[in-house]
C-alpha cells in the first residue's frame, strides 16, 4: 500500500464511521426533541434553539460530524472531490441502513434496502 492510497482511504474510512455515528445520533436526538415544525408554532425560534442546545445527544452528533468534516477536508487535500465525496457517501448509505436498523429500530424494508443499494451504486458510477 503506497502513501497516496493510505492518505486517501484512511480518512475516508474514518469519515464513514464518524458520519454514520453522527447521522444515527442526530436522528435519535431529533426524534427525542420532536417535530420542529410543531415546536416552532408553539415556542418560536428561541424555544426550538433552546431545546436543541440542551440535547446532549445532538452535541455528540455534532462532534462526530465535525470529525467526519475534518477527515473529508484531509482526504480532499490528497484526492479529487469526484472520488472522495461519492466513495464516502455511497458506503455511508449502506452503513447507515445497517446502523438505523440496529440502533434506531427503523423498519428498513425491501424498498429502503433497494434504494440504499441503488443510490450507492449510482453514486459510484457518477464519480467515474
Amino acid at each position: 500500500m503506497n502513501a497516496q492510497v493510505f492518505y486517501t482511504w484512511t480518512p475516508i474510512a474514518i469519515m464513514i464511521i464518524a458520519s454514520t455515528t453522527g447521522d444515527v445520533l442526530i436522528s435519535k436526538a431529533m426524534k427525542q426533541i420532536g417535530d420542529l415544525g410543531e415546536l416552532w408554532k408553539c415556542f418560536g425560534f428561541r424555544g426550538v434553539a433552546a431545546r436543541m442546545l440542551k440535547s446532549g445527544t445532538l452535541l455528540a452528533a455534532i462532534c462526530a460530524m465535525g470529525i467526519a468534516f475534518y477527515m473529508m477536508l484531509f482526504a480532499l487535500s490528497h484526492a479529487d472531490v469526484s472520488l472522495v465525496v461519492p466513495a464516502g457517501a455511497s458506503l455511508t448509505f449502506v452503513t447507515n441502513a445497517i446502523a438505523a436498523r440496529l440502533f434506531l429500530h427503523e423498519n428498513v424494508d425491501h424498498r429502503r434496502w433497494a434504494a440504499a443499494v441503488l443510490v450507492g451504486i449510482g453514486v459510484v458510477l457518477i464519480s467515474r
Binding site: 420542529l36 460530524m65 487535500s77 434506531l104 434504494a115 449510482g122 459510484v124 458510477l125 457518477i126 467515474r128
Partner: protein, 159 residues
C-alpha cells in the same frame, strides 16, 4: 344530468391536507425542506472542494494547517452552506426516518454532476448517466414509501 356536489371536493382536499401532517404523505413545506437539503449540501461540497484545491495537499505532520483551512474564504463559504444544510437536515430528521431522508436527498449527487457539466464544462459519460438514473430511481423508490416507521403520537396542542 346534473352534477350533485361540485363544491365538496376542495373542502375534502383541504381536510386531507390538514390531516396530512400526521400521515405518510409529505406536504409542500416538507418537500421544501428536502429540497433545501439537496441544494445546500451540493453547493457546500463544491465550495469546500474549490477551497481545498487552492490550499493544496496537507501532510499528516502539519495538522495545524488543516485546522487553519477553515479560514480560507471558499472553505468558509462552504461551511456557511453546510450550517444551513445542518438546519434543514435536523428539521427533516425531526419528522422522518434516517433511512428515508438519506436516499430522498441523494439527488444532490446528481446536482453536483450537472453543475460540473454546466459550469465547469465537464463531460458526462454514459456510466455517469447510468449512475444518475440509478440515484434517481433510488429516490423514486424510497419517496413512494412511508417516511416514518412509528406512527406519530396523537397531535397535542403544545407539549
Amino acid at each position: 344530468m346534473q352534477n350533485p356536489q361540485p363544491v365538496a371536493i376542495p373542502k375534502a382536499q383541504e381536510q386531507l391536507k390538514l390531516k396530512g401532517h400526521d400521515q405518510v404523505a409529505l406536504d409542500r413545506y416538507r418537500y421544501l425542506v428536502l429540497g433545501a437539503i439537496i441544494v445546500f449540501s451540493s453547493t457546500g461540497d463544491v465550495f469546500l472542494a474549490n477551497g481545498m484545491k487552492h490550499i493544496g495537499a496537507i501532510p499528516i505532520s502539519n495538522l495545524p494547517r488543516l485546522m487553519a483551512a477553515v479560514f480560507n474564504p471558499w472553505v468558509g463559504l462552504g461551511i456557511l452552506f453546510l450550517l444551513m444544510f445542518f438546519a434543514a437536515y435536523s428539521t427533516a430528521l425531526s419528522w422522518a426516518d434516517l433511512t428515508f431522508v438519506l436516499p430522498a436527498t441523494s439527488l444532490s449527487y446528481v446536482l453536483v454532476a450537472i453543475m460540473g457539466a454546466l459550469v465547469l464544462h465537464e463531460h458526462i459519460s454514459v456510466a455517469r448517466w447510468v449512475g444518475i438514473l440509478l440515484v434517481s430511481s433510488g429516490v423514486g423508490i424510497v419517496a413512494g414509501g412511508p417516511s416514518i416507521t412509528t406512527k406519530r403520537r396523537q397531535e397535542k396542542p403544545c407539549p
